[in-house]
């Protein structure tokens, strides 16, 4: 079983598209572009996550909850606007 739920409400257009672009390159290119966008957007998210983890890992490793809270407060204050 597949989880694909693709439907084809416009068979005429789809037929034309197949005629001019038999290998579906247009669609494949659009899908690839979307996937590249998605991957490139991970850079910022990964950097943000790494930044938070790195700043907070040290007090956690030292098992110093007071310092963890203090660092968290300082981290938040230094985020700017």
């Amino acid at each position: 079983m597949s989880d694909s739920q693709e439907t084809n409400p416009r068979p005429f257009r789809s037929g034309l598209r197949r005629l001019y672009d038999p290998r579906g390159l247009g669609e494949r290119l659009a899908r690839l572009e979307a996937e590249v966008d998605e991957l490139q957007q991970l850079n910022l998210r990964l950097a943000e996550l790494t930044d938070v983890v790195q700043e907070l890992l040290l007090p956690l490793a030292r098992q110093d909850p007071d310092q963890a809270v203090e660092l968290l407060e300082r981290y938040r204050e230094e985020l700017g606007t």
Binding site: N43, L44, L46, E48, T50, E73, R76, L79
Partner: protein
Amino acid sequence: MRVSLDEEGVVLGARDDEVLDVLFDGRRIWSFRGSKAAERVAGSWRVPWPHDLRGFLHGVALVTVRDASGGVLAEAELRFGDGDGRVAVTDPQGLPLTIDPGGRLVTTFDASDAEQLRPLVDAIETVLAKLTGLGLDAFPAYGTLLGAVRDGKLIGHDNDADVAYLSRHTHPVDVIRESFRIQRLLHRDGLEISRYSGGAFKVTVRDSEGVPRGLDVFAGFLYDGRLVLLGEIFAPFEESWLRPLGTVDLEGRPLPAPAEPDRLLAAMYGPSWRVPDPTFKFETGEAIRHRLDMWFRGTRTYRNGWDRRYSTSRHRGPKRKPHELARILHRAEPQGTTVVDVGCGRGQDVVWLALRGHQVFGLDFSGNGYAHLRDRAAEEGWSVQLADLNLLELRHTLAWGARLARVDGPRALIARQLLNATTGRGRENLWRLARMTLGDGGRLYAEFLVAPPHGPPRRYVDPLVWDLDPALVESEAVAAGARVTRAETVELDEHERPCRTEDGAPAYSCRMVMEWARE
């Protein structure tokens, strides 16, 4: 060239590419190129007064049009509207304003003398020294480098300063993390910072007249034989064109500079960078802009619009009447519940809820909205904490979620006209914040614009808000672990609506209450 003037703007005999300056009573107010600004109206080439200038056009002014060599092409004493005084294009403090190439009013450097700009030049020196101290190759960039190389001075028609540094990293993730770290270190030196993207931020410096001046700090790195430099450059580049650094003079001070500044200036402004052009506007290629957007941006979407919307009322409070959603929350939640108003805007509900015994956090990414409350809240002893929260930054969301999760006692969130004014990333982070804050039980009270029952979506006068589909909101809330306990669609009166609809028809909101059970 034949040029004439009237109350509607400048009329040109031909639509050529020459840069023309427009002066009001001898002061340059605006520059344009006929080839870009002129429109064909009734057989002539017209350049209308820029939109932002029109609000100032009341009274009389001697208007002059000059070419780049200073030659006067047209001059006329014009009367705008029915005022008798001289036209004053100034800010509320009386400081002269100029139209920038983007059509916005700014205070340019040519309105200030060297003494006034000294704090900005000091800040450029300080920030460059700090970056150098971190082992980075840092130098003035963009307009600041251009002015330094061309004349040893800040450019008169510029209005902010730019510095850049070349990172040793080559991957965007590491470059972004380094930029975060630099921001923290500059913050610890007492500098006021606002982030543009993962690779650029602004330091705000006040000149000696109190005019806020931006000092932009851009990350650069070498990537596959190219220089990537926020916010505009992605070009083939040799490392040796940048380092080892040389020097350049700016306002009489020696500063570090790229090894071959000409190369960088050509990448920034094209081969004609030596010719001054007050109309210059960056037109980054679509592919480059897209790549930089994907790598670094998306954390400031709609921010400038909200800052502008609130800028004229920064120090003026709104009506103290609360919104209905705040009343609903107050009626339903136990006395003493801590309330977090996410996207608190002008803060009416923050104050109203605080006066009814709640501890309230008012959070928004545009501090202009609640600026009027900052001093007042402390003076009055209200139990209110106002702060910046940018839901488009994961770091903000995680840090605030952790902070709010530590608040003792019952908690509730309120998000009025927020979901329908942010991106998918903003909504995703609101759900994350709600889950962190309310994970041990609590409710989120949301209100967002919707299409009228059985009607099409509306268009609003202010494009900062739009209709949202309640089914989408509910599905996102459920995916974030919530249960919708109440949802109703209501017609909004003038007080409740965020702005008018384009066709004057009534606006509608969905009020939705979501509950998180203890995890």
